[in-house]
């Protein structure tokens, strides 16, 4: 102890209760500036490979990441195939080694995390899209040059609406609790160069089709230009992934945790269907819902899917 004469007992800085051992994996070597940018952008520094001295994470390592990596979903919608990174030209060797980019690393980590610990199950239904198609044509005619409503917009709107009636499916599974959301924020998977990202249409249930259409278009465009703000691709309560434009009939999407569900939308195809005892050609679409069984049970998911199917088959039901 120091000479007490005149020395006021000031609280000495407490040693950390659990000192971090050197070389602990949880410790991230990063510059103060990189730490600050990462914190603000919600980037996990552990996922970033440092290029600074001794592998330190520095600003340039974060910059690309902060703009493009977060909460990816396995499937992609609104694809811009031209902007995808092409595989390297063949050198004649049996294989080409390409280092993982940040977004690839994150996708790998997130998806492994998802299919690993999350008990998925899948429900598929086929939806008749005749009336939705008619409604879309009518709406687009009315809108004229003021925008276009896409099938994806209708699906997002119907999903959001159905979720308001099925709160058990609009939820997050967290460490020790389930968070049921009262708001509906739909994550919309968008393919971007070398990966994908899910910008969020907030409060989609309360937005008109035209609003959703405009917002979806704008978000997708900025996602492809890597101009999304972190708050624009985080916080979804449920996601929609659409591969219809790739002529995929049906697929399963991987849940984007902590969300409890995602629907995978296939292409709309004309099929022979028996309606009222007669064979007719109808436009049909398959939807597969992936559910986190820790949150959603079979019957719960099926009920939601039935509502969604009804809404798409009879778009007027959304007005109810």
């Amino acid at each position: 102890m120091r000479d007490a004469g005149g020395v006021v007992a000031v609280a000495t800085p407490k040693p950390a209760t659990t000192p971090v051992p050197a070389g602990d994996a949880s410790r991230v070597k990063a510059s103060p500036l990189a730490k600050r940018i990462a914190k603000e952008a919600g980037v996990d520094l552990k996922l970033v490979t440092g290029s600074g001295p001794g592998g330190r994470v520095v600003k340039r390592d974060i910059e690309g990441t902060a703009r493009s990596v977060q909460a990816p979903v396995v499937a992609a919608g609104a694809p811009p195939p031209a902007s995808r990174l092409p595989p390297p030209a063949s050198s004649g060797a049996p294989y080409e080694d390409v280092p993982l980019t940040q977004i690839r690393k994150t996708i790998a980590k997130r998806l492994a995390m998802s299919l690993g610990p999350i008990p998925h199950f899948f429900l598929t239904t086929e939806v008749d899209m005749e009336r939705a198609s008619e409604a879309r044509d009518a709406l687009n005619k009315q809108l004229g040059d003021q925008g276009k409503v896409s099938f994806n917009d209708i699906i997002i709107k119907a999903t959001a609406h159905a979720l308001t009636k099925h709160r058990p499916c609009n939820a997050w599974f967290e460490e020790d609790h389930i968070r049921y959301w009262n708001e509906v924020h739909i994550g919309m998977a968008v393919a971007v160069e070398d990966g994908l990202i899910t910008p969020v249409i907030r409060n989609a249930d309360g937005k008109s089709l035209a609003e959703i259409g405009r917002e979806a278009k704008e978000l997708a465009e900025r996602a492809r230009n890597r101009r999304l703000q972190p708050n624009e691709y985080t916080g979804a309560t449920f996601s929609v992934s659409n591969l219809g434009m790739f002529d995929i009939d049906q697929f399963t999407a991987v849940i984007n945790p902590p969300e409890a569900g995602i629907i995978a939308v296939g292409s709309i195809v004309q099929k022979p269907v028996v309606v009222d005892g007669a064979l007719s050609a109808r436009r049909r679409m398959r939807i597969t819902m992936s559910c986190d069984h820790r949150v959603i049970d079979g019957a719960t998911g099926a009920a939601f899917l039935r509502t969604l199917k009804q809404m798409l088959e009879n778009p007027l039901a959304m007005l109810l």
């Binding site: 510059s31 103060p32 500036l33 600050r36 600074g52 600003k59």
Partner: protein, 463 residues
């Protein structure tokens, strides 16, 4: 093969000799070929002797003001010849120091003019040397005149720093063309030794590469002490007579004739790329005359590397020294930290000194960066008041959102020393907050750095 070395270095200036030492440390056999004295321009006719002369100038001005400090020095007499002789001793000591370092590190030194040959070979007179790993081109740069307007360096009335450093006495009057670091320093030196100095700069302000506030502070300081400063001036024509030079200068729309005993050319440097054998080896140069190098400092000819002034701007000894270290580590198969060319400090050793790192405020504006400027004047700094060095300021430009230090500018006593706190900060991506959090000793000039950081955060204490 007696004349085979791992690494051959053409030029023993700061880039070359540092490369030689690092190369030897890494276990590579190394030879340096130098036609003059080791240490190059920097040690012999640049950085080092000018710093010696600037200190003589500083002592002269200090003694002139000594009475105010309670010290009577009587009439102050100056003798440029004596100061020059001292500066020569300093240079010679440094050059000998480099020679010693070569011996200590077992680097072979060959005196002579080296010419590159294909196949990683260098010819010196009749001797041929062969590099097993790499040839480093570190031939440096030299002063240049402006013969197109009649100002060819004649070494008597129209001189360069090469001659100015060997004058036996200070001329009665001198026009210095170019107010970059060299022009600024010589204006300071000769003025202190009694020369009537006119400083002419073509660009709108002196120290054109520094922050505008630094330029303004120096223009004010120079004018106050009687140095004539003419920025934005075009020298139309120079007529060199036997013991005088007449300059026709156009500035602010008005033409004037300036007659001086001596003109000192301090407007730029030319790189030494002639007669080196570059073309013969396939070493290409850029539009601006520098040797073209890639990120590994390799030229367009594999096995030939370029470092220092010949490899491109900034033409500063410390940038060349760093390249010398980096390139030899690359050649030795290591992966050195990439050189951050945006983090090379720039220093002018005039009084008050000017030191900077990173972007100027104008550059922040041009790049449309969202920035905040923090400032602290030395007039509010206790230590500066005590020593009478109240001229100048510290100015820090920080990114508004994250506090990244975009640039820092210091004008004042010891600015050349103080800047490194901010250089270290930038190299390690410390923000203004980390700079401010470090406790600065009181009273020091460096406290102004912490206060400027605080000012940028809107919570300056001492003002």
């Amino acid at each position: 093969m007696p004349n085979a070395f791992d690494v051959i270095i053409l030029g023993g200036g700061p880039a070359g000799y540092v490369a030689a030492i690092r190369s030897a440390q890494l276990g590579m056999s190394t030879v340096v070929i130098e036609k003059e004295k080791l240490g190059g321009v920097c040690v012999n006719i640049g950085c080092i002797p000018t710093k010696a002369l600037l200190h003589s100038a500083y002592i002269a001005s200090l003694l002139r003001e000594a009475k105010e400090f309670g010290v009577e020095a009587g009439a102050v007499k100056t003798d440029y010849g004596v100061a020059m002789q001292r500066s020569r001793k300093v240079s010679d000591q440094n050059s000998k120091g480099v020679e010693f370092l070569m011996k200590k590190n077992k680097v072979t030194v060959v005196k002579g003019v080296g010419v590159l040959q294909p196949g990683r070979k260098v010819k010196v007179g009749n001797d041929a040397y062969e590099a097993k790993k790499a040839v480093l081109i570190a031939t440096g740069s030299r002063v240049k005149g402006l013969p197109q307007i009649g100002l060819e360096i004649n070494k008597t009335t129209v001189i360069s720093s090469d001659e100015a450093l060997f004058l036996e006495k200070a001329p009665a009057s001198m026009a210095i063309i170019g107010a970059g670091a060299v022009g600024m320093e010589f204006a300071n030196i000769f003025h202190a030794f009694g020369t009537k100095v006119t400083l002419i700069e073509a660009l709108p302000r002196i120290l054109p590469l520094e922050d505008a506030e630094a330029s303004d502070a120096l223009a004010k300081s120079y004018k106050k002490r009687g140095i004539e400063v003419i920025p934005g001036a075009k020298v139309k024509k120079g007529t060199a007579g036997k013991d005088k030079v007449t300059l026709e200068v156009e500035a602010n729309g008005a033409a004037q004739k300036i007659e001086v005993a001596t003109v000192l050319m301090a407007a730029g440097r030319a790189v030494n790329t002639e007669n080196v054998g570059l073309a013969e080896c396939g070493v290409q140069v850029t539009d601006r005359g520098f040797i073209k190098v890639d990120q590994r400092l390799q030229t367009t000819a594999p096995g030939y590397y370029a470092i220092g002034d010949v490899a491109g701007p900034p033409m500063l000894a410390h940038k060349g020294m760093r390249e010398g270290v980096t390139v030899t580590e690359i050649i030795a198969g290591q992966k050195p930290h990439a050189i951050r060319y945006d983090n090379v400090p720039s220093v002018t050793y005039c009084h008050p000194e000017v030191a900077s790192i990173g972007l100027t405020e104008d550059q922040c504006k041009e790049r449309k960066l969202d920035y905040v400027a923090g400032r602290f004047p030395f007039s509010a700094n206790g230590r500066a008041r005590g020593t009478g060095e109240t001229e100048g300021f510290v100015k820090i430009l920080r990114d508004k959102k994250y506090g990244e230090i975009l640039g820092a500018h210091i004008v004042g006593g010891h600015a050349s020393e103080i800047i490194h706190e901010l250089t270290v900060a930038r190299e390690n991506e410390y923000t203004v907050e980390e700079v401010e959090l470090a406790i600065h000793a009181h009273p020091t000039m460096s406290e102004a750095v912490a206060q400027a950081a605080l000012d940028s955060l809107g919570r300056v204490v001492d003002m």
